[in-house]
């Protein structure tokens, strides 16, 4: 297998975008091509979850490659729920690593807000088990809520810890021009003041409004290339050094320990093994905080903190921008937004930006190794990646 590098990156604002879906995919792709200095590409992967159901468009990759003027390059849409982005990056990696392509464009996109919130909630719920979960009216917040209740009981995580994740990620997002939310929040406003529980109502008890990421439109793109190609292009050498993926039972209740996220654990271990590195080598991480509890749980399962102690590291400020291991400097899904198909690619965009030293106000000083975790379903299909800055 050849070594694979990131040659270019591009992103849109994650917010409410009044552009057709194919344009939301194309815009960051054009940015990535410009960044890399490329006019042509060997292969295109489009990461997206909802085009067929929300946007009434199938065969999305064909539309994207056409609107970009990249025909006759090959193109496919990759769908893996919220892990579509990382899955598409993985396909791109395999294409270059195998020697089949010199350059691959991966663009993730989602236009959630073509439908209203009720339909968006139901669309996301279709990821659940059709007979054992979906028919009961379960939603992803419901799964996260049931998980949170047990985490609180077993490890002593409190609503305050969840609030701290939200406050931190909103603060980070203020420094990210592409973030969905540019709105600082305070613990007083969401938990302490007499009006806090009207500001921050229950979504699925015990999770509240500010524990859940927003519904966003957006796109992000990366270009993967071989080492030889990188030498031609002269871009900073950021290598995709490790990829790991693991799956778990579709029905969340079937997992032996309901407070474990074994797919995170397994995928992270595999990614580190492939990269020849350990969690201690990582300086910056983008974790999938669709719900604030997930940032805490994933930080443990990925190996950064002992199981059940992630909230203590949060308390100590270790995961804040100035801390020992900044998590979600971009604002995470909570602050930056969650256009489902774009999220995994967006995480890569942030880590590459950090490892190139281009993150401006939210730069993690001296970052050489970065980690991403893209969490599909409710933890039943997870892809972790390790990036390394060379030279």
């Amino acid at each position: 297998m050849r070594e694979v590098y990131v040659a270019g990156i591009g992103i849109t604002s994650f917010s409410r975008l009044e552009y057709p879906l194919a344009e939301i995919a194309a815009y960051p792709a054009m940015g990535a091509l410009r960044d890399a200095g490329l006019k042509k590409i060997d292969q295109v992967y489009v990461a997206n979850m909802g085009s067929a159901r929300i946007n009434n468009q199938t065969a999305l990759a064909s539309a994207v490659v056409d609107t970009l003027g990249l025909t006759p390059a090959g193109a496919e849409r990759i769908e893996n729920g919220p892990a579509s982005g990382a899955s598409a990056v993985k396909q791109g990696f395999l294409g270059v690593a195998s020697g089949m392509y010199e350059t691959v464009l991966v663009t993730g996109c989602e236009r959630m807000r073509e439908v209203n919130n009720l339909e968006a909630t139901d669309f996301v719920a279709t990821m659940t088990h059709p007979l054992a979960e979906y028919i009961y009216g379960v939603t992803l917040p419901a799964h996260a809520a049931m998980f949170t209740r047990l985490y609180m009981q077993k490890y002593g995580v409190t609503a305050r810890h969840l609030g701290m994740v939200a406050v931190k990620n909103h603060a980070n997002a203020m420094k990210n021009p592409f973030a969905h939310l540019h709105q600082p929040i305070t613990l007083e406003g969401i938990l302490d003041s007499p009006e806090a529980f009207t500001n921050n109502p229950y979504v699925a008890e015990p999770l509240r409004f500010f524990d859940c990421c927003p519904v966003s439109d957006g796109g992000a793109a990366v270009i993967l290339a071989s080492k030889e190609k990188m030498a031609e292009l002269g871009k900073p050498l950021v290598r995709l050094a490790g990829i790991g993926q693991a799956t778990d039972t579709l029905a969340v209740f079937e997992r032996p320990d309901p407070t474990d996220l074994l797919a995170v654990r397994g995928s992270a271990a595999a990614a580190f093994a492939m990269a020849g590195l350990t969690p201690a080598d990582v300086q910056v991480a983008e974790l999938h905080d669709a719900f604030t509890i997930l940032e805490i749980a994933e930080s443990e399962e990925a190996g950064f903190f002992p199981k059940g102690q992630g909230h203590l590291a949060l308390e100590r400020g270790e995961t804040a921008l100035g801390g020992a291991l900044p998590i979600n400097p971009s604002g995470g899904l909570k602050g930056k937004g969650h256009p489902v198909g774009a999220t995994g690619v967006g995480q890569v965009h942030e880590i590459v930006t950090q490892l190139r030293g281009d993150a401006g106000e939210r730069q993690v000083a001296g970052a050489r190794v970065g980690f991403t975790c893209n969490f599909g379903g409710f933890g039943n299909n997870v892809i972790s990646m390790v990036f390394v800055r060379e030279e």
């Binding site: 409410r16 975008l17 009044e18 552009y19 057709p20 344009e23 236009r111 073509e114 209203n116 919130n117 009720l118 939310l181 709105q183 600082p184 929040i185 305070t186 007083e188 406003g189 969401i190 003041s193 007499p194 009006e195 806090a196 529980f197 009207t198 500001n199 921050n200 109502p201 409004f209 500010f210």
Partner: protein
């Protein structure tokens, strides 16, 4: 002669108890003041509402058009027993809510227009409106309709409003729902939030001026992209609505 005609055309307002202003902390840690405004402050509000006539998403255009008419009707004495409440943060306009009384015991909620999003300010101001009808004015019930699906979910379903489908709400004849005193009392702990009295300097700041909204909804940056996103390949929908044809000849 003119004075006599005006006497016929102008409704006589019933004496309505004024809304006592209140304040609360929103999620950002900032302070929201909710107070009633009188006719002399309406022109300032009209300036803030008018740009929303051109924002087609989330039914802002429909709501803005109707709110504009209601505010103007109030200002020009052509609407009976209407009241207007505003929410302000640091003096900046964050929301406008309005309604009127049909009779001493029945209220008619008109609109809730949030000009600052993401902090549930619309929800706070809607609840203040309900407090005004039930607690302050002592009414038995308030008729409500929703123009947008989010409003429907939040108010009709969350508060389990009673159906009053036999009553056509004046906003387009859509079937009404009602918030009764009984329902209001049941939801009181989550509906009646905020603190009184408002600290004097905070109230003085709010009363001194209604400053423009800090981050109001705006029309799309790229008009033709928005028409493509609405599956309108002619591009004329939004352009015509604005009363302007910006492009002569062909367009993409």
């Amino acid at each position: 002669m003119g004075v006599d005609l005006e006497k016929i055309l102008r409704p006589i307002d019933s004496p309505l108890a004024p809304y006592p202003p209140k304040f609360m902390t929103v999620a950002s840690g900032e302070t929201l003041v909710i107070r009633q405004v009188d006719r002399d402050e309406i022109p300032t509000l009209l300036l803030a509402v008018e740009p929303l006539l051109h924002v087609e998403r989330d039914f802002y255009d429909v709501v803005a058009a109707r709110v504009y008419a209601e505010l103007l009707g109030y200002y020009r004495h052509r609407m009976q027993d209407e009241y207007v409440l505003v929410g302000q943060i640091d003096g900046h306009l964050a929301a406008i809510v309005n309604g009127r009384t049909v009779n001493p015991k029945l209220g008619m909620s008109l609109h809730t227009l949030a000009l600052r999003r993401g902090l549930r300010i619309g929800a706070h101001c809607f609840a203040a409106k309900m407090e005004y009808h039930i607690d302050i004015l002592g009414q038995d019930e308030v008729l409500i309709v929703a123009e947008s699906p989010i409003g429907f979910r939040r108010w009709m379903i969350e508060y389990q409003l009673e159906k009053r489908f036999e009553v056509a709400h004046e906003l387009g004849g859509v079937p009404s729902y009602a918030l009764t005193k009984a329902l209001f009392d049941r939801a009181r702990s989550s509906l009646v939030v905020g603190r009184r009295p408002v600290p004097p300097d905070l109230l003085a700041q709010a009363q001194a001026a209604i400053l423009p909204p800090t981050d109001p909804p705006r029309p799309p940056a790229d008009l033709l992209a928005a028409t493509r996103a609405m599956y309108d390949s002619t591009g004329t929908a939004l352009l015509l609505q604005r009363g302007r044809q910006e492009l002569e000849g062909g367009h993409a």
